[in-house]
C-alpha cells in the first residue's frame, strides 16, 4: 500500500509547535532529531504515521512529532499500538518507551507484543533509571546502584531488554546509542523496513539522575575497544587497531587478536542476523564492558509472518466461505418461527 511521496518532506515537516521540555543535555534530543530525519526516508505520508507512547520522559515524544500521536498510560503502549495497527495496517506505527515503562509496569505487554510479532517499531530508551519520578532505580539498573529509593544500594538483579526480547521470540533486535545519530538513523530505517515487531534499544544518557552510566562504553578513549558494530555478513571485528575479533571457544565467546597466535581474519565469526537459531544473538546481546565490547547494530533480523497480516488474511479468507454476510441474514438464520 506504500505510495510515492509527492513533495519530498524534510525533517522540519515533522517538527511541532510545542516546546520540547526535556532537560538540557538529555539524550532524548538527539533521538528526536534522528527520528525526524528518518521520517522523510520511510516512504510514508505524514498522515500515515502514528507515534504512540506510555509514561515517562521518553513518552513525551509524540507531542514533538508532527504526525498522528497518542500519549497513553503507563506501560500499555504496546497494547494501544496493537489496536492501531490491527485497525489500519497501512499505518506506520512507532512506539516510544523507556526501561521503566516497557520492562517494569509494561513487562507483560512487552513480551506479548514481541510474541505476536505485529508490524510496529519499538524505540526503547534505556537510561537505566527512572527520570520522570526523579531518580529511582529501574529493572535495568545495575545491581548496587544508589538511588533515592535505594540509598544503601540496590539488591535487585537487573535484566537485559534484548535477552528478554529474544526469550519472547523477538525477530528483530537492534541496539544503538544516543550519541551516534547517524547509525541510529540507519538502524531505524532497517527497523521500519522489517515486517514484524522491530525492537531498537537506545542507550540513552540521563544527565540528571544517571549521568555517564554508559561512559565506560562511550568515552572517547575506550569506545573503539568497547563497541562492536555488527553488520550482517561482516566479521565481528572491533578495536582501535581493528585487530580484535570474536571467536567461539566451546559454548562461549572469546576475544582474540588478529595476527597473534596464528589468528587470521578468516577465524573471526561472521555476523548472521538472519539465523533463526538465536543462541549466538543472545550471547552477543549479553556481552558487557569491560570484559567484552557491547554489541550494537542490528543483532537479529529474521523474516516471519506478521500478526497483523495473519489477522487480516484470516478475515479475508472467511469472506470466501461465509454463509452469513449481513446482520439481517444473521438474525434470520437458524431456527425461526412465524406468529400471526
Amino acid at each position: 500500500m506504500e505510495h510515492l511521496v509527492e513533495d519530498k518532506l524534510t525533517f522540519r515537516d515533522f517538527e511541532t509547535d510545542q516546546d520540547v521540555r526535556w532537560c538540557p543535555g538529555c539524550g532524548d534530543y538527539a533521538i528526536l532529531k534522528a527520528v525526524q530525519k528518518v521520517m522523510p526516508e520511510i516512504g510514508k505520508e505524514k498522515e500515515d504515521i502514528v507515534f504512540i507512547s506510555g509514561i515517562g520522559c521518553s513518552s513525551r515524544f509524540p507531542y514533538y512529532m508532527n504526525t498522528y500521536g497518542f500519549h497513553t498510560i503507563h506501560g500499555r503502549a504496546p497494547a494501544f499500538a496493537t489496536g492501531v495497527k490491527l485497525s489500519n495496517p497501512n499505518l506506520s506505527v512507532w512506539q516510544v518507551t523507556g526501561d521503566g515503562d516497557a520492562l517494569a509496569i509494561g513487562g507483560n505487554h512487552y513480551i506479548h507484543v514481541l510474541r505476536r510479532n505485529i508490524d510496529i517499531n519499538i524505540l526503547l530508551f534505556n537510561n537505566e533509571i527512572y527520570g520522570l519520578t526523579k531518580g529511582q532505580f529501574s529493572p535495568t539498573s545495575q545491581t548496587g546502584i544508589k538511588t533515592k529509593s535505594s540509598p544503601q544500594g540496590t539488591v535487585d538483579r537487573s535484566f537485559n531488554p534484548g535477552k528478554l526480547a529474544l526469550g519472547a521470540e523477538a525477530n528483530f533486535f537492534a541496539r544503538v546509542i544516543d550519541i551516534d545519530p547517524k547509525r541510529m538513523a540507519e538502524v531505524m530505517i532497517e527497523a521500519e523496513n522489517h515486517k514484524g515487531t522491530s525492537l531498537v534499544e537506545i542507550l540513552q544518557n540521563c544527565i540528571i539522575f544517571n549521568d555517564k552510566v554508559f561512559a565506560d562504553v562511550t568515552a572517547k578513549d575506550v569506545k573503539l575497544d568497547r563497541q562492536l558494530w555488527l553488520t550482517h555478513g561482516e566479521p565481528m571485528i572491533f578495536g582501535k587497531e581493528k585487530n580484535k575479533g570474536l571467536v567461539l571457544n566451546g559454548f562461549n565467546l572469546e576475544i582474540v587478536t588478529i595476527g597473534e597466535n596464528g589468528i587470521t581474519d578468516a577465524d573471526i565469526l561472521v555476523h548472521d542476523a538472519h539465523c533463526e537459531n538465536n543462541t549466538l544473538h543472545n550471547m552477543l546481546i549479553n556481552m558487557s564492558a569491560p570484559e567484552f565490547p557491547v554489541a550494537f547494530g542490528v543483532i537479529r533480523q529474521v523474516a516471519a509472518d506478521s500478526f497483523d497480516d495473519n489477522v487480516w488474511k484470516q478475515i479475508e479468507g472467511e469472506k470466501d466461505n461465509a454463509k452469513i454476510n449481513s446482520v439481517d441474514e444473521l438474525m434470520n438464520s437458524g431456527v425461526t418461527w412465524e406468529i400471526d
Binding site: 511541532t16 510545542q18 505520508e45 505524514k46 498522515e47 500515515d48 504515521i49 502514528v50 504512540i52 507512547s53 509514561i55 509524540p62 507531542y63 512529532m65 508532527n66 504526525t67 498522528y68 500521536g69 497518542f70 500519549h71 497513553t72 498510560i73 500499555r76 504496546p78 497494547a79 494501544f80 499500538a81 496493537t82 489496536g83 492501531v84 490491527l86 485497525s87 489500519n88 497501512n90 499505518l91 507483560n108 505487554h109 506479548h112 489477522v311 484470516q314 478475515i315 472467511e318 469472506k319 466461505n321 461465509a322 452469513i324 454476510n325 449481513s326 446482520v327 439481517d328 444473521l330 438474525m331 434470520n332 437458524g334 431456527v335 425461526t336 418461527w337 412465524e338 406468529i339 400471526d340
Partner: protein, 612 residues
C-alpha cells in the same frame, strides 16, 4: 395407559444434575422447542464455577430453570412445577424450590447409599418420607438409557452419557412437545459422529416412549402458544444479543468492530460470538490481560474502529485507568460489564448488580462516562446498539451493564430489521475541514470530532495529560483544567437530551412506586403485575439509563408517596438517586445471594410496605 391431556397456562421446570450431566444443553433444548411451538419463556441457567466440581455433591449441581407459557413470561419463575433430579445432590439442592404437589422425576439408579450419602442425606430420600406431598416419578434412567443404545457402535463409557436425552424425552411427553427440534439439533451437532447422534436420538425417543407407556404420570399437559405480537421470531440469549447489537450498530455506522478483551465469566460468550463473524471485518483480539484488552480497543478507536471491550466486575476494576484515558481523549468505546457476584473474584457464575457504583464513579479524577443497563436477554441487543450509537455520536466511553442472569438467559425475540433501526452518525472529522482543531466542540452535544490517522491535514496529538481547550495541547493552566473538567461533565449530562423518558407500568396515583434497574426487570414486572391484578396500588419504573438519568425522573418520582428501590446488591442505585435527587425519600429492598429476585419475596415485601 393414561392419555389425559390437561391444558395449563404456564409451567416452571428445573433440570438439575451433576455439572457433567449435560443439564445446560438439556434445558436449552427444551427452551428452543418451547420457543418454536410459540410459547413465551424465560430461562435461568445456574451452574458452579468449577468445570467438574466433585461428582454427586451439592456443590457440583448444575441447574437450568425455564418458565414457559401461553401468557407473556417475564421471569424464569420461583418454585418449579417439575424437577428433574439426576442424583440425590440435585434433589437436595432444589427441594426447597418445588411447589407443593409438584412433580419430581428422579433417576432412581443414582439413589444407592453411596449416592445419597455423598449428597449429604443420611437416609434415602425416596424412602424416608422426605418427598411426601410431591408426585414422585422414580425412573431407572441410567439403566434404560444403556438399554436403549445397546445396538449403537459406541464406546462403553458413552452408553450412559445420553441419559440427559432420556430425561428430556420424559419431559417432552409430559408437555406434549415434538422431538424434531432436538433431533435436528443432534444430527447437526454430531454430524461427524453419526453413531453418537443416533445414540442420543434413541435415548430421547426411549424416554418419550417410557413416559407414554408407564402409568407413573397421571396426565400430560398442553401449554398453548402465547399471543405474542405478530412477526418472525427466534430464540436469543443475552450475550449473543449484545454481540449482535454491536454488529448491527457497526453496519449502520459503517464502522468495523474491534473487540480487545480477555476471557472472563460470564462475559466470554461475547468474545466467542463476535469471533465467529470475522467476515464482517470484525477483529477480535484475545489480549494478554484485561488492561491490554481495553488499551488495544482504545488504540483501535483512535484509528477509527467501533471499539469494544467486554468484561465482568474484576476486569472493570483493572480497566479503570484506561477508561479515564478514553474519557479524557474523548474517544468512543463501548465497555460491556456482564456483572457477577463480587467483591474480588466473588461468585463468578452467579448474578449480582454490584458494579453500578464502580461503573459510575470507579476511576481516578473527575471521570464521568455514560452508563446504561440492559434489562432482558433480548434487549441486550437494543442497549448494545444504543451504547455504540451514544459512544460514536457523543465521543465518549459508554459502559453497558448487563449481568450473568440476562447474559445467560434466553427468550423468544421478534427479529428486527437493520434498516429500521435508529440512524447512527459518527462524529467524524473530514479531510479539508476548515479551522479544525482536536478539541473544537459541537454546540449541542459538546462532542469533539473524530480525526483518524490516514486523514490528510488533520495530524494531531492527544494523550493522558490535561488538554488545552480547542487545541488539545498539553496544558497545566489552572483555569483551563477547571473548565475542561466541567465541560466533560456537561457533555455527559447533556446525553439526557438524547435518551428516552423512563416509563411507568401502573397508575400515577399508586401508593407505591417500585424502582429497579437493569436485569431485575422480569422479576419486578412479574411481581408488580400480579399485585396489580389483585387490585393493589403499586406501579413500577425501570431504569435502563443510569448516567445520566432520564430527564423525567424527578417528575415521575414526585407522583408517588412511597418509593422502594430494589436491587441485587447492598444498595447502590439508591445511593446514586439519593445524591442526584435528594428531595425524595427512598425505601430499599436488596437481595445479595447471587440469585435473582423471587416473585413471592417481592410481593410479600411490597405488601408490607403498602400496609406500613
Amino acid at each position: 395407559m393414561s392419555n389425559i391431556v390437561e391444558e395449563i397456562d404456564q409451567v416452571v421446570i428445573k433440570f438439575a444434575g451433576d455439572s457433567g450431566d449435560g443439564m445446560q444443553l438439556t434445558g436449552t433444548q427444551f427452551s428452543n422447542t418451547a420457543a418454536f411451538i410459540g410459547n413465551d419463556l424465560a430461562t435461568f441457567p445456574d451452574f458452579p464455577a468449577e468445570i467438574r466440581a466433585p461428582q454427586g455433591t451439592v456443590a457440583g449441581v448444575s441447574g437450568f430453570k425455564i418458565q414457559f407459557g401461553s401468557n407473556r413470561i417475564f421471569s424464569p419463575g420461583d418454585e418449579a412445577d417439575v424437577l428433574i433430579a439426576m442424583n440425590p445432590a440435585a434433589l437436595l439442592a432444589n427441594i426447597d424450590w418445588i411447589r407443593d404437589g409438584g412433580t419430581i422425576i428422579v433417576d432412581s439408579d443414582n439413589f444407592k447409599i453411596k449416592d445419597f450419602d455423598k449428597a449429604g442425606y443420611t437416609t434415602n430420600p425416596l424412602e424416608d418420607g422426605t418427598l411426601a406431598g410431591y408426585n414422585v416419578v422414580e425412573a431407572p434412567i441410567t439403566k434404560l438409557t444403556k438399554d436403549s443404545v445397546k445396538d449403537c457402535d459406541i464406546e462403553n463409557k458413552f452408553r450412559s452419557r445420553s441419559k440427559n436425552m432420556f430425561a428430556l424425552g420424559i419431559v417432552y411427553w409430559l408437555f406434549s412437545r415434538p422431538l424434531s427440534i432436538t433431533e435436528d439439533y443432534l444430527d447437526a451437532k454430531f454430524g461427524k459422529v453419526p453413531e453418537i447422534a443416533k445414540a442420543n436420538k434413541l435415548a430421547l425417543k426411549a424416554g418419550y416412549n417410557y413416559a407414554l407407556t408407564v402409568e407413573l404420570l397421571p396426565s400430560s399437559y398442553k401449554v398453548k402458544a402465547a399471543t405474542l405480537p405478530k412477526g418472525k421470531y427466534r430464540s436469543i440469549m443475552g450475550n449473543e444479543a449484545t454481540a449482535w447489537g454491536l454488529m448491527a450498530a457497526a453496519e449502520r455506522a459503517k464502522l468495523d468492530i474491534f473487540l480487545g478483551t480477555y476471557p472472563i465469566t460470564p462475559a466470554s460468550d461475547i468474545l466467542h460470538e463476535l469471533s465467529k463473524y470475522k467476515n464482517f471485518n470484525i477483529v477480535t483480539l484475545q489480549a494478554e490481560d484485561e488492561i491490554a484488552g481495553i488499551c488495544s480497543s482504545i488504540g483501535a478507536s483512535f484509528a477509527g474502529s467501533l471499539a469494544v471491550t467486554s468484561t465482568s466486575g474484576p476486569g472493570l476494576a483493572l480497566k479503570g485507568e484506561a477508561i479515564g484515558l478514553a474519557m479524557m481523549t474523548e474517544l468512543p468505546i463501548v465497555i460491556i460489564d456482564v456483572q457477577r457476584g463480587g467483591p474480588s473474584t466473588g461468585l463468578p457464575t452467579k448474578t449480582e448488580q454490584s458494579d453500578l457504583l464502580q461503573a459510575v464513579y470507579g476511576r481516578n479524577g473527575e471521570s464521568p462516562v455514560i452508563v446504561i443497563a440492559a434489562s432482558t436477554p433480548s434487549n441486550c441487543f437494543d442497549y448494545a446498539y444504543k451504547a455504540a450509537k451514544l459512544a460514536v455520536e457523543h465521543m465518549t466511553p459508554v459502559i453497558l451493564l448487563t449481568d450473568g442472569f440476562i447474559a445467560n438467559g434466553a427468550e423468544p425475540w421478534k427479529i428486527k430489521s437493520v434498516a429500521e433501526m435508529e440512524e447512527i452518525v459518527p462524529a467524524m472529522a473530514k479531510e479539508g475541514d476548515k479551522n479544525w482543531n482536536p478539541y473544537t466542540r459541537a454546540e449541542d452535544k459538546l462532542n469533539r470530532t473524530w480525526a483518524i490517522p490516514g486523514t490528510k491535514g488533520l495530524e494531531h496529538r492527544i494523550g493522558v495529560l490535561e488538554k488545552q481547550a480547542v487545541t488539545g495541547n498539553v496544558s497545566y493552566d489552572p483555569n483551563n483544567h477547571e473548565e475542561m473538567v466541567k465541560v466533560r461533565a456537561e457533555k455527559v449530562a447533556r446525553v439526557a437530551n438524547f435518551i428516552p423518558d423512563v416509563e411507568v407500568n401502573g397508575n400515577e396515583d399508586a401508593d407505591l412506586l417500585v424502582v429497579g434497574w437493569g436485569g431485575t426487570y422480569g422479576g419486578l414486572h412479574t411481581a408488580v403485575s400480579a399485585m396489580q391484578e389483585q387490585g393493589k396500588s403499586v406501579a413500577h419504573a425501570h431504569f435502563n439509563y443510569i448516567n445520566p438519568l432520564p430527564k423525567n425522573t424527578a417528575t415521575v418520582f414526585a407522583k408517588y408517596k412511597k418509593i422502594v428501590v430494589c436491587e441485587l446488591n447492598n444498595g447502590q442505585f439508591i445511593k446514586l438517586l439519593q445524591s442526584e435527587l435528594p428531595e425524595f425519600n427512598y425505601l430499599q429492598y436488596n437481595k445479595i445471594q447471587g440469585l435473582p429476585f423471587s416473585k413471592s419475596q417481592l410481593v410479600d415485601e411490597f405488601n408490607n410496605i403498602l400496609e406500613a
